[in-house]
């Protein structure tokens, strides 16, 4: 036991002290925070730019349709000659030019020097639509205010019936959390599983392994390595979560409340009813997300996430350790890498289909089979579409399988680490399993 902790410490500290780890730990949260902040920031940037559009209206009927707004200004031209008009537009530096030649045929053409600006096009057509609609109402003798008053917009609130009563839940939120957790598990299994393999190969290539196993048992070496690297993964994960939180929080406070709808913090929101929140933000969709966040079954989700994170990592890390022991250098490992990585990749690809139908056949099998369940089961738990017995079966199978793979990998590992200069086949591996 003491030996495992010594090995674990070495594996942990040599990795955590590496430059690449420190850089990844700092760059990762910056990228993630950018992912949260960039869309809002970009939207704000966009709003500040003022664009001018040249309008040529031969019919003379549309003048009222184009009222200047904060970001879009209009300049009218009377130039009759088409060529001269285009010349004038080019010299004006305006963003685009709309020419209206005929009312009846809806002959609207938008000219621009570069690729057409979709934002301007949308705004112009919306203005024209409103303007022409209003004219039609007038023609038909309908009061526009009445029409507006008659319009409705239905928003269906989603609630889940639980034993404690009904709760507001958000399907979109579940999908987002499910995807994020599936992707995090996938990424960490891959990144750190490969690290285990590289670590084993390094010890073989350096020929340090025989010195090691004259002091410790091979299974201690393997266990110390796998657990040590798992702790590196956990450290990185926690640092990422904390640093991302700090950066997002900092940006939020530094750049004011404009990013968040209101300056309220979550604790205040928690005590409000759905209607109050709706009043506060004036947006029922947003209140649904907030309430969904509060009502989300975090206990089940975090529990499942940790369980499958750990189980999936142990399962794959032991397989990667066995691969590392079986090969002599990193270029030889392709034939063994493929069968191990295929289920992982398959699971993350299938996740997109499974999210649409989380109780389908595909979802069922992928969340039961231990090689894909670490990615798919948390996804199903996040969207709340699973049966307890399915979860229990999945966890049970995962535990049984990882115990089996650890045992199997330890056998391969024990023989493999002392084999040099030998190209290993599957047949050979089978023989190793039978060695004493």
């Amino acid at each position: 036991m003491n030996n495992i902790s010594l090995i674990l410490k070495r594996e942990y500290f040599t990795r955590v002290k590496k430059k690449s780890f420190i850089i990844m730990t700092i760059v990762g949260p910056i990228l993630m925070a950018a992912l949260f902040i960039a869309p809002v920031w970009l939207a704000m940037m966009d709003n500040n730019e003022i664009k001018t559009v040249t309008i040529y209206d031969r019919t003379g009927k549309y003048k009222d349709a184009f009222q200047d707004t904060e970001t879009l200004k209009f300049r009218f031209t009377d130039e009759q000659n088409a060529e001269k008009r285009k010349e004038e537009f080019k010299n004006s530096g305006d963003a685009a030019m709309l020419s209206i030649l005929d009312t009846l045929s809806n002959d609207f053409v938008l000219y621009s020097e570069k690729a057409p600006d979709l934002d301007i096009k949308d705004k112009l057509s919306s203005k024209l639509n409103h303007f022409l609609e209003a004219q039609n109402y007038k023609k038909l003798g309908i009061d526009k205010a009445e029409i507006d008053a008659a319009k409705v917009s239905v928003n269906i609130e989603t609630k889940t019936l639980t034993e404690e009563g009904e709760k507001v839940s958000s399907a979109e939120l579940g999908i987002a959390i499910g995807f994020i957790s599936a992707f995090i598990i996938y990424m960490f299994i891959f990144m750190y599983g490969v690290q285990v393999m590289k670590g084993v190969i390094e010890e073989k290539v350096n020929r340090v392994v025989e010195i090691l196993i004259s002091s410790v048992k091979p299974y201690q070496l393997m266990a110390g390595k796998i657990i040590g690297i798992a702790m590196v993964a956990l450290t990185q994960f926690i640092l990422w979560a904390v640093l991302t939180g700090i950066i997002v929080g900092f940006v939020y406070f530094a750049f004011g409340e404009s990013i968040m709808p209101q300056g309220q913090d979550l604790s205040q929101i928690q005590n409000m009813s759905s209607a109050q929140i709706e009043n506060m933000v004036g947006n029922s969709q947003f209140s649904e997300v907030i309430l969904g966040l509060i009502n989300f079954n975090w206990f089940a989700m975090i529990g499942t996430f940790l369980m499958f994170f750990a189980g999936g990592y142990l399962l794959y890390a032991s397989l990667f350790a066995a691969i590392g022991a079986a090969v002599d250098n990193e270029t030889d490992n392709q034939q063994f890498m493929l069968p191990v990585t295929v289920p992982l990749i398959l699971a993350i690809v299938a996740a997109q289909g499974i999210i649409k139908n989380p109780d389908g056949v595909l979802a069922f099998w992928f969340s039961i089979i231990p090689f894909t369940s670490p990615i798919i089961m948390p996804l199903r738990v996040a969207v709340g579409r699973y049966e307890i017995w399915e979860l229990a079966l999945s966890v049970g199978l995962l535990i049984a399988t990882f115990l089996a793979t650890v045992w199997l990998a330890a056998k391969i590992y024990k023989v493999g680490i002392l084999m040099y200069g030998k190209k290993v086949s599957y047949k050979e591996l089978w023989k190793w399993l039978k060695y004493k």
């Binding site: 030996n3 010594l6 090995i7 070495r10 040599t14 390094e202 010890e203 350096n206 020929r207 340090v208 025989e210 010195i211 090691l212 196993i213 004259s214 002091s215 410790v216 048992k217 002392l418 040099y420 023989k431 004493k436």
Partner: protein, 305 residues
């Protein structure tokens, strides 16, 4: 007293037998040479003693106890395939291995400083291993092998990769450790060093032990009653006088002086040869030819094949 005893060790691999019924005894406080051509099974035997692999049959006793996991701390092993973590600092790494052998950090540090001073490498303590030359790395490995002061030391080809000066330093250290009471198993192809440091040897060929015993006894057994003589006088008359009881194997003559190797057969004594020679001239030197371990090795292995 024996420190280590193996009893009829058998190890079978998929396609070949690595060891069949090998028994060796290592006396306490002696250097035991484990010899044999490549692939004879030496490394397998050493790995069994280190509990890296288990024998199919047979038993190993250390201090008259059946081998058990705790015994690992009493053995220091320098394997033939050896290396260090390249990116780790020398001192840090040596400390790690010492702790794996059960030393506490404080003792390990103290001992390490002593050894590093002895080998005059204290300035490397904080250098990364990859910055060291191969010979320097070997010194560090040697320290790692002996730092926990094991009762039994096992060196598998310890001199490969060392320059002659460092080979001498190492030999001296091994003999010092022996004087301090450690027992040493020494596996090598370097026969000259076997004669210098080994008290007893075992020769393994094709998975079987074909020879063992004290180095001096083995040498005596391999004597073939052959003598090297330097003689001043009439060589032709002398050789003509020889009966079938003597055979001249080699002879070179320079003016009056002859150097020859003579085999004495049929229970005749060296004195008889001397008596014959004296009649034809003056004897300058007369030595019995004692075979070197090198010759014995080749003869034994070839005879066995």
């Amino acid at each position: 007293m024996e420190i280590l005893k193996t009893l009829n060790i058998v190890k079978q691999f998929e396609n070949h037998k690595a060891l069949s019924e090998v028994s060796i005894n290592v006396e306490e406080g002696s250097v035991f040479g484990l010899l044999g051509p490549n692939g004879a099974g030496k490394t397998t035997l050493i790995r069994i003693i280190n509990q890296i692999t288990a024998p199919d049959k047979g038993e190993v006793f250390l201090f008259n106890e059946k081998l058990k996991p705790e015994h690992i701390k009493n053995i220091g092993y320098l394997p033939e395939e050896r290396g260090l973590y390249k990116k780790m600092k020398v001192g840090e790494q040596a400390l790690y291995f010492a702790q794996l052998k059960g030393m506490n950090k404080y003792d390990a540090k103290k001992k390490l400083k002593q050894w590093f001073e002895k080998f005059d490498i204290l300035s490397w303590y904080d250098k990364k291993v990859e910055e060291l030359s191969k010979g320097m790395q070997q010194k560090v490995q040697f320290i790692i092998t002996v730092i926990h002061e094991p009762k039994l030391l096992i060196f598998d080809e310890p001199f490969s990769g060392f320059d002659p000066i460092n080979v001498d330093i190492l030999k001296k250290e091994i003999l010092t450790l022996k004087e301090k009471g450690a027992s040493v198993i020494f596996s090598t192809h370097n026969m000259a060093s076997v004669e210098e440091v080994c008290d007893r040897i075992a020769l393994i060929n094709k998975s079987k032990k074909i020879l063992d015993g004290k180095v001096s006894d083995i040498k005596n057994n391999y004597k073939s009653n052959m003598f090297e003589v330097v003689f001043e006088g009439n060589f032709n008359k002398f050789s003509a006088s020889l009966t079938a009881d003597y055979e001249i194997l080699e002879s070179t003559q320079k003016e009056n002086k002859s150097v020859l190797k003579v085999s004495i057969l049929n229970n005749m004594k060296p004195n008889d040869l001397l008596a014959k020679m004296l009649k034809f001239g003056k004897i300058i030197s007369f030595n019995e030819v004692i075979p070197s371990m090198h010759d014995i090795f080749i003869e034994a292995v070839n005879g066995n094949n």
